[in-house]
């Protein structure tokens, strides 16, 4: 019997090679681009620091009654502060996709939990656009951002996995680095840590014991400093101090000019919280036990109807956590200031979305799009800036990419939907366009390649904000209109009383929805 593969046998096997694309599925991997030009001498660095789930409405910098962010206020004294800056959506995926591509979620179709940008936008990202000149670093501490950034992996020079700088990383996907996205969804999201029931019957229990043991060890080791337990991102335990130290270490030795994107998990609540979703250091616990309760707002029909008492308690804990995050940012700011980084870099502080503690909702996994969940901070310090500047017109996260490209002298692609942020380019052409339209989109219930038929879309124009709910059986085709200047808490719905404004904005919003849905209508 022949034991060697002869020519005929080999030729019979060749057709199997055609199966390789099937193993790969449709293209999801970006090509590796390693032919880089040497950095342009004197080009300013760009450093984006994003704090996940940081709501502008909880920053003392923006007038919040609790002194949560004294260090951000220090930074603001040498930065341009955008007081009406909005996220692309109300959770991480649309927020980050919009920031990194300069387009709204209905364009990138990144509006699902653990969603990704469509294939055509894998090469339309910030890293690729900065590629010819800049050394690109990305540190996505959020695992969902990690999945998206893996789409852009070929355009990133230094990629730091979420578990870096952590105390313990119990995730499994990193063992299969050749297939990160699918490995994470299969192992860490379905089999071993499903949102409801894990897909593994027995080994998931063993994993749970492992993680409980890990948690117990951290709890005992850090009980003095962290009485509520150390911060946790799924199965990654970390101290935010270590994360900041790690970033400082990176910034000390990174090649210039660089583009750095640091997506930091705090003050996002822990996934799978043991007892406390927010885990600040000891000295921050109790600092806001002031008895203050915000204005009572009715429970929204689309909410989970949490009690006001529960929401107020969680608000206090969130504010404590924000203060802790701010204190650590203070250390980072001191380093950037003392090292001279602020003199040769654009430094941006922002968020991907906010957090709700009202109308029956805690968090951001909600159809609701009120100010606390989409109004996010944006502070930009130009190289050598010493004077604070305030911008109050509405701006969007989709404006960040074209602005950065413009400021660093790079071409702005025509597919960017954002505009130049006011207040940065100097006096000429620095118009405050308060008539422009800013959108925010919540559409996670829709298929990627279909028209949007269920969701919540927001249009902000000048002082007005129109919210449109559609596709909810219990709340079909509802509009709400608010005057944010006179009613920042969104207590009085003006949809019926300001008919002219409402009709104008409604017409514009519906037109926009028709426009973005058109390519998906067969």
């Amino acid at each position: 019997m022949k034991s060697r593969l002869d020519r005929r046998g080999f030729l019979k096997l060749l057709p199997l090679l055609s199966l390789v694309p099937l193993l790969k599925g449709e293209h999801r991997a970006a090509a590796v681009t390693r032919n880089r030009s040497p950095g342009r001498e004197g080009a300013p660095n760009v450093c984006i620091i994003l704090f996940d789930a940081l709501s502008a409405r909880h920053l003392s910098l923006h007038g919040y009654r609790r002194e949560t962010t004294p260090n951000l206020a220090r930074f603001a004294e040498r930065a341009t502060v955008y007081h009406s800056h909005y996220a692309g959506g109300n959770f991480t995926v649309p927020g980050v996709a919009s920031l990194l591509t300069g387009t709204y979620p209905w364009t990138t179709r990144a509006f699902h939990h653990a969603g990704l940008v469509v294939e055509s936008y894998e090469r339309r990202n910030m890293f690729r656009l900065f590629g010819d000149v800049y050394y690109r670093i990305a540190y996505p501490q959020n695992v969902w951002t990690n999945l998206m950034l893996h789409q852009f992996r070929g355009d990133i020079d230094v990629y730091i996995e979420p578990g870096r700088f952590s105390l313990a990383d119990g995730t499994f996907y990193k063992l299969l680095s050749g297939d990160t996205d699918i490995a994470f969804r299969s192992l860490d999201d379905l089999l071993l840590r499903g949102a409801s029931f894990p897909g593994s019957l027995f080994i998931s229990l063993v994993n749970d014991v492992r993680m409980l043991g890990c948690e117990q060890v951290r709890l005992e080791e850090y009980a003095d400093l962290y009485p509520r337990g150390v911060p946790r991102l799924r199965d990654i335990f970390f101290l935010f101090e270590h994360v900041i130290d790690g970033i400082i270490g990176l910034l000390k030795c990174v090649r210039r000019p660089f583009l750095a994107y640091f997506h930091l998990f705090p003050p996002h609540e822990s996934y799978y919280p043991p007892h406390y979703p927010y885990s600040p250091r000891r000295e921050f616990i109790g600092m806001f036990d002031d008895g203050w309760t915000p204005a009572t707002k009715g429970v929204h029909p689309l909410s989970r109807s949490l009690s006001a008492e529960s929401l107020n308690r969680q608000r206090v804990e969130y504010d404590e956590y924000v203060a802790y995050v701010d204190a650590e940012f203070g250390r980072l700011y001191d380093f950037m200031s003392e090292s001279g980084l602020l003199d040769d870099s654009y430094v941006l502080i922002t968020s991907d979305h906010g957090q709700l503690f009202e109308r029956g909702v805690h968090g951001h996994d909600t159809p609701l799009m009120y100010e606390p969940v989409i109004h996010i901070p944006l502070l930009i310090s130009k190289p050598g800036q010493r004077q604070r500047k305030d911008v109050r017109v509405p701006t969007s996260c989709v404006d960040v990419l074209p602005t950065l490209l413009h400021l660093t002298g790079q071409p702005v692609p025509d597919w960017c939907e954002g505009e130049m942020l006011p207040g940065l380019a100097g006096e000429a052409g620095d118009g405050d366009n308060d008539a422009r339209s800013v959108f925010s989109v919540e559409a996670k219930a829709n298929p990627e390649q279909s028209p949007l038929v269920k969701g919540t879309v927001v249009l902000i124009k000048g002082q007005y904000k129109l919210i449109h709910y559609f596709g909810y059986p219990e709340y079909e085709s509802t509009y709400e209109l608010y005057d944010l200047w006179s009613d920042p808490e969104e207590l009085e719905d003006l949809y019926l009383s300001r008919r002219a404004v409402a009709a104008d904005m409604q017409g514009e919003l519906e037109g926009k929805l028709r426009e973005v849905n058109q390519p998906y209508i067969s």
Binding site: H112, G178, L191, L201, F202, Q216
Partner: protein, 196 residues
């Protein structure tokens, strides 16, 4: 006696002990079938539960890939559970476990599965328990497993019924095992070729 000869002699003696204590191959297949039936069914159930949301934004081959991961994992998990039971069979007295391996092993797997599902059913309670509570829960899980083993040990009729049921489940091996092996090859290939 030379070292090599000593190793051969001792090795042979250990192998003889193992052969005496190892369950019969047919019994191991029955227990393996019980493991496969439960573990694969559970993983497929929760894959199908998540599938509608994945279909929203993942393409067909991404979903096939995730399915392959779950089936490959299920195969490995089934083998691990069987190995645990085989080790138990070697460790415990022959009369208590090995002689009734098909029925005892199957009923232990079913009882453990019921307890695993109950633990999960307490709505994320598992994750909010502290370590002591969790250990207590796991310890309590030994009670139904122990009780079912005793029942099988004491009742010939029950032993025969469970053994017969487990033997019928071996038919599923013709589907699930090739599916698992194919999936394993698929997963390995994806990682070697760095398709992610």
């Amino acid at each position: 006696m030379s070292a090599a000869a000593w190793v051969r002699e001792e090795g042979g003696r250990i192998l003889a002990i193992l052969r005496r204590k190892l369950p019969a191959r047919r019994d191991m297949f029955s227990v393996f079938a019980s493991c496969v039936f439960l573990i694969y069914s559970w993983s497929i159930l929760w894959f199908l539960h998540k599938l509608p949301s994945w279909l929203q934004y993942l393409n067909f081959w991404d979903n096939v890939s995730i399915f392959a991961y779950t089936q490959a994992f299920a195969l490995l998990e089934s083998v691990v559970v069987l190995l645990v039971l085989v080790v138990l069979s070697i460790a415990l007295p022959v009369r208590f476990f090995r002689d009734k391996f098909a029925a005892q092993g199957s009923v232990m797997v079913f009882a453990a599965a019921c307890w695993a599902v109950l633990l999960r059913a307490f709505d994320l309670g598992l994750r909010s328990w502290n370590f002591s509570e969790f250990l207590l829960g796991l310890a309590l899980s030994l009670v139904p497993i122990g009780v079912s083993c005793v029942l099988v040990h004491c009742s010939q009729r029950l032993e025969n019924a469970i053994g017969a049921f487990a033997e019928r489940l071996t038919l599923l091996l013709y589907i699930y095992v090739p599916l698992g092996l194919l999936s394993l090859v698929f997963v390995v290939a994806r990682n070697i070729l760095e398709l992610g």
